[in-house]
């Protein structure tokens, strides 16, 4: 639920990083924290267990620039990835404006990715939010590992696309991040849309800002 504060000239938006446990959600935020200028970010809050597993959430506020005289403040949250923390995971989604799904590219984690994606759809639906209609980006993390599945396989399993029923949106749209791919295209007579996807190695920072910029831009465009 983005909040436009005319008094302080700020637009506040909430972005949630979702995905299976140990997939790199917290690492994404830590990289953003380290790399942005200290005067454009706030304090990073982590509610974690003693073994540094996210217990409730991580939180990081960042300013990404000014548009029309309004400072754009993004509140980045991660959820706990472990299956049994679903109650707290669901709470964090309340009022979300954009979602990043951080998938673990390792072949052995495919089932965990699929389970987490399904859980995301279910939790969003319980709030009455439709993931196909809000800013949503998929990040394939840990691309540097030798046991990483191919992006084609990950796309097929996690981001196969949804049917575009609205005729006004049935227009071929190229993926700006992957010139030979489409975000909206006709496949076998059916119009299909996919979430934009990015490859990353969050621990070195590769792909972290591309993902954040992509979802932040989609959120602001949804307000324009």
């Amino acid at each position: 639920m983005s909040m436009i504060n005319y008094a302080s000239r700020e637009i506040n938006c909430k972005i949630v990083y979702y995905g299976p446990g140990l997939g790199g959600k917290t690492t994404n935020l830590e990289h953003v924290y380290r790399k942005v200028a200290p005067d454009t970010r706030g304090k990073m809050v982590s509610l974690a267990t003693e073994t540094e597993r996210t217990l409730f959430f991580d939180f990081l506020p960042v300013d990404l620039g000014t548009i029309r005289g309004f400072k754009t403040r993004f509140h980045l949250y991660t959820v706990p990835g472990q299956v049994y923390y679903n109650a707290s995971r669901k709470l964090i989604l309340k009022g979300v404006d954009g979602v990043v799904f951080v998938a673990d590219s390792q072949v052995e984690r495919m089932d965990a990715n699929i389970e987490s994606m399904q859980n995301l759809y279910n939790n969003m639906a319980e709030y009455g939010y439709d993931l196909t209609k809000i800013p949503f980006v998929v990040q394939y993390n840990k691309r540097d590992l030798p046991n990483a599945a191919s992006v084609r396989e990950l796309q097929a399993q996690l981001n196969p696309g949804w049917e575009v029923a609205d005729e006004a949106r049935q227009v071929e749209r190229r993926d700006p991040a992957h010139p030979n791919e489409f975000l909206v295209e006709q496949l076998g007579g059916v119009w299909v849309e996919r979430a934009p996807h990015y490859e990353s190695v969050a621990i070195t920072g590769d792909g972290v800002f591309e993902t954040l910029r992509s979802v932040a831009k989609l959120v602001l465009k949804s307000l324009s």
């Binding site: 639920m1 983005s2 909040m3 436009i4 504060n5 005319y6 008094a7 302080s8 637009i11 506040n12 909430k14 706030g42 304090k43 809050v45 509610l47 409730f56 959430f57 939180f59 506020p61 990404l64 620039g65 548009i67 029309r68 005289g69 309004f70 754009t72 509140h75 949250y77 109650a87 707290s88 709470l91 964090i92 309340k94 009022g95 979300v96 404006d97 709030y127 009455g128 939010y129 439709d130 209609k133 809000i134 910029r213 932040a216 831009k217 602001l220 465009k221 949804s222 307000l223 324009s224």
Partner: protein, 163 residues
Amino acid sequence: MTGAGTWSLDEGDYQRITEHLTVLLQEASARCALLVDRTGQLLASVGERPSFDPTAFASLTAADFSANDQLAKMIGEPEFASLFHQGEKESMYLADVARRVILVVLFDNRTTVGMVRLRVKRTVGDLTTLFHAMFDRSAARERDVARGPLEGAEDEIDRLFED
């Protein structure tokens, strides 16, 4: 509804909110009052300037309230409309406003929780009326053709995110 929606706070709203909070602080002899929305965004802060990071405080407040809401449901209550956290010197009292906003009052031993609770009750009533009017106005604005401040700002957004 497909997403969480948008709402806005204008200068007039902000001024009315801070007036209510200022009266509350004076009457309850409390130190500081903050308004936080349920998604964890700080809307207003009145009184002594907090020594902590107010943005982080706001996100934790929303999480605290949300977690307690779920605990309430587990024990068969629809909600806990207010929460009280007692410290040795500093305490805080949190109250729901219109199911969308949380009023947080920080106070020390110059007053009592009973006094704070009593005064908060009236402020919650005043703020509830004010916020309902704001939400209705935001909903009406969303239905209008001319929407928020970013209407038609696509090019500017593109430029902001250029590499």
